[in-house]
Amino acid sequence: MKILFYPLFFLLFQFTVHAQVKPVAFDMKIMYKFTYQNDSTSSASRKSIFTQLTIGEQESHFQTLSKFRADSALALAHGSNMLFYSYGRIAPNNFLIIKREDIISTYDPMNGVGFSGNNELSYYEENKADMQWEIHPDTAHIHHFVCQKATTDWGGRKWIAWFTMDIPISDGPYKFCGLPGLVLSISDQDKYFIFDMVSISKVNSVSATFDQLRPDLIIQKTTKANFYKERQKLRDNMIEYALLTGAILSDESKINIRAEMKTDNNPIERH
C-alpha cells in the first residue's frame, strides 16, 4: 500500500508545479510601449499597447497590460464561470511569457481569447540559448542609461536591441533575454515591432496563479512550430469553426471575417 502511495504523490506534485500554484513575488516592474503592425500591407494597421515585464528572484513574467488587468479583475472576482467562446479575430496579445533559468515558457491561448472566456491554454518551451546575440560597439543614451547595441537573428527576423549595463539583469521585453544588461529598446529591422521602455519602478507585488484565474484551466503542452501551425489553421478556417459551433452568419459577416483574417498576416515570429 505504501509503495503505491509514493508514485501517486509524485505525480500529483508534478502536476501542481506545472499549473503554477505558487504565486511569484516581484520586486521590479518595467513597462514597455509595444508598437506592432499585424498587417504588413498597411501601415495604418499600426497599433501600440503597453506591456509589462515583472521581475522576481527566480523568474520574470511578460504580458500586455490589458491582459494583466483583465486577469487581476478576474482573480479578484474569484473566477468567473461565464463562458463564451467566440471565434472572432485572434487577439495575438493574450500571451504570458515566463523566463526561468535557461527556459522561456510561453502560455498563449490558441484562439487568442483571454481567461474570461476561455479555459484552454497552450504552452510551449524554448531554450534561452537559441537566441544568439552579436554585440556591437555603438552606444546611445536612453533616459539616463548608457546603452549598447546588440543584434540577433531570431524568430525569422533580424532584431536590433539596446541594452544597459547599468541594470545588470539579463532580461527584456517579449522573449528577449541573454544580454549582460536589461534591454531598454528593441525593434526588428523593418520596424514592424518596436518595444520601448517607458518606466522602471520598484514594486512589491505577487502574481496571480492560474488557479485563481481559472480553476478549470486546461493546459496543453505543445511545441512552438505546432502552435503557430495550428493557429494559422484556425485563422484560415475561422468561418467553418464558427459554423460548427452553431453560429449563424450572414454573407456579409462571412466576407468581413475573411477580410479581417487576411489583415492578420504579420506575426511577431515567422515560421
Binding site: M28, M31, K33, K47, S48, I49, F50, L65, S66, R69, A70, A73, L74, A77, S80, M82, F84, S86, Y87, G88, R89, A91, N93, G114, S116, G117, I135, H136, P137, D138, T139, H143, H144, F145, V146, Q148, M165, D166, I167, P168, I169, S170, L179, P180, G181, M197, V198, S199, I200, S201, K202, A242, T245, A247, L249, S253, N256, I257
Partner: protein, 320 residues
C-alpha cells in the same frame, strides 16, 4: 627553395592566430568564500564605454571569457550582479586564471517615472491626458481619440483593443446612446481634459460583479461644465456650394444638451454622424443592447447624386 617558402608562410599564419585570442578564466567568490553564480563577466578596452564580449559564471562560480582584441596590452574586466557591488579590474591581455571576491551589496536601480507617459491608470481606468496628444492640426476630440494607444477608429466607430466600445460618455453621462459620432466630430479637443477608458466596464450597475464584461467604456472628462461647440461655414463658387455646421452643446452636472444644424451640398454624408454604433458588432456573439437612443427631432432631405442634406435634431438628456 620553394619548399622553404611554404613552411615559412604556414608558421606565420599559426603564430598570428594564436595571438589574436586569449582565454581568461577565473572564479568568483563572496566574502564567505562561497561561489557566486550568474555574475555577468564582460571585458572592454580600458577607457571605452562599449563592452566587447561577455559570459556568465556558472554554479561553481567559474567563468571563461574569450578575449579577441590583440592591439592592447591589458583589458578591463567588469563583474556585474544585482546583489553584489560592481567590481572592475585591469588584467593583462594574456591567457590566465584569476580569483576575485565580490562584496555583497543590494544595487540601487535608478527608477524611471511614468510622468513621461501621457497615460496613467487607476484601478480599471486608463486616463489619457488630452493635451499631450494634441497636435496643431487636431480640432475635434475625434482627432485625438484615434491617436490614443490601444484605440482605433473605423468609419467613425471606436474600438478599444479591437473590440467596439460599449458606451461613449461625457462627464459620466451617456447622452447620445450610440450616436456618439455627433460628439466625436464636433466637440472641440481643447474642451476636454482627459479621455478615460474604463476596462471591463459593466454599464448596468445591478449586474456589476455578476456579469463580467470584457468591453470598455469611453468617458470624456471636460475641463469644466460648459457650453461649447463648433461652427463651420464654407461657401463655394457657382452654381453654389455650401457646407455649414453649427453644433452648440451644453454639459452641466446633471443636464446635457446637444443641438446640431448641418447642411451641405458638397457630398459630405452628414448622416454618418447619426449612425448608431452600439449594436452588436462582435461577429458571432449577439451583444445587442441596441436602442434607438434619445429622441430626435430631425428633418432630412436626401437627394440622390449630388447630395443636399439638412438635419435638425435635438436630443437631450436629464439625469435625475
Amino acid at each position: 627553395m620553394l619548399a622553404k617558402l611554404f613552411f615559412t608562410i604556414i608558421f606565420i599564419w599559426i603564430g598570428g592566430h594564436s595571438f589574436a585570442q586569449t582565454i581568461i578564466t577565473g572564479k568568483l567568490l563572496d566574502e564567505n568564500q562561497k561561489p557566486i553564480a550568474n555574475v555577468t563577466v564582460s571585458y572592454k578596452k580600458i577607457g571605452s564605454a562599449a563592452l566587447l564580449n561577455f559570459s556568465k559564471s556558472d554554479a561553481s562560480g567559474a567563468f571563461k571569457l574569450t578575449v579577441k582584441v590583440s592591439d592592447v596590452d591589458s583589458v578591463q574586466l567588469d563583474f556585474n550582479h544585482l546583489s553584489y557591488a560592481k567590481r572592475s579590474v585591469h588584467v593583462a591581455n594574456a591567457t590566465a586564471n584569476y580569483a576575485y571576491i565580490l562584496k555583497s551589496e543590494v544595487r540601487k536601480i535608478q527608477e524611471v517615472k511614468v510622468s513621461d507617459v501621457p497615460v496613467y491608470n487607476r484601478k480599471d481606468t486608463i486616463n489619457y491626458n488630452v493635451a499631450s496628444f494634441t497636435g496643431a492640426q487636431d480640432r475635434v476630440i475625434g482627432d485625438i481619440i484615434k491617436k490614443l494607444p490601444g484605440v482605433e477608429m473605423r468609419n467613425g466607430q471606436i474600438f478599444y483593443q479591437g473590440e467596439p466600445i460599449q458606451q461613449y460618455r461625457v462627464n459620466g453621462l451617456d447622452m447620445m446612446g450610440g450616436r456618439y459620432g455627433l460628439i466625436n466630430q464636433n466637440l472641440p479637443a481643447d474642451a476636454v481634459m482627459k479621455v478615460q477608458i474604463l476596462e471591463n466596464h459593466q454599464p448596468i450597475k445591478m449586474l456589476d460583479k455578476l456579469v463580467f464584461s470584457n468591453r470598455a467604456t469611453l468617458n470624456l472628462q471636460l475641463k469644466k461644465f460648459t457650453t461649447t461647440g463648433t461652427g463651420k461655414l464654407g461657401l463655394g463658387a457657382a452654381p453654389a456650394l455650401w457646407d455649414a455646421n453649427i453644433t452648440p452643446m451644453t454639459f452641466a452636472k446633471t443636464f446635457q444638451m446637444l443641438n446640431s444644424f448641418q447642411t451641405n451640398n458638397v457630398g459630405d454624408d452628414v448622416s454618418q454622424q447619426l449612425k448608431p454604433f452600439y449594436s452588436g458588432t462582435g461577429y458571432f456573439t449577439a451583444r445587442s443592447r441596441f436602442s434607438d437612443g434619445p429622441s430626435y427631432l430631425s428633418i432630412r432631405e436626401v437627394h440622390s447624386g449630388f447630395r443636399s442634406e439638412k438635419m435638425v435634431e435635438q436630443p437631450d438628456l436629464f439625469n435625475e
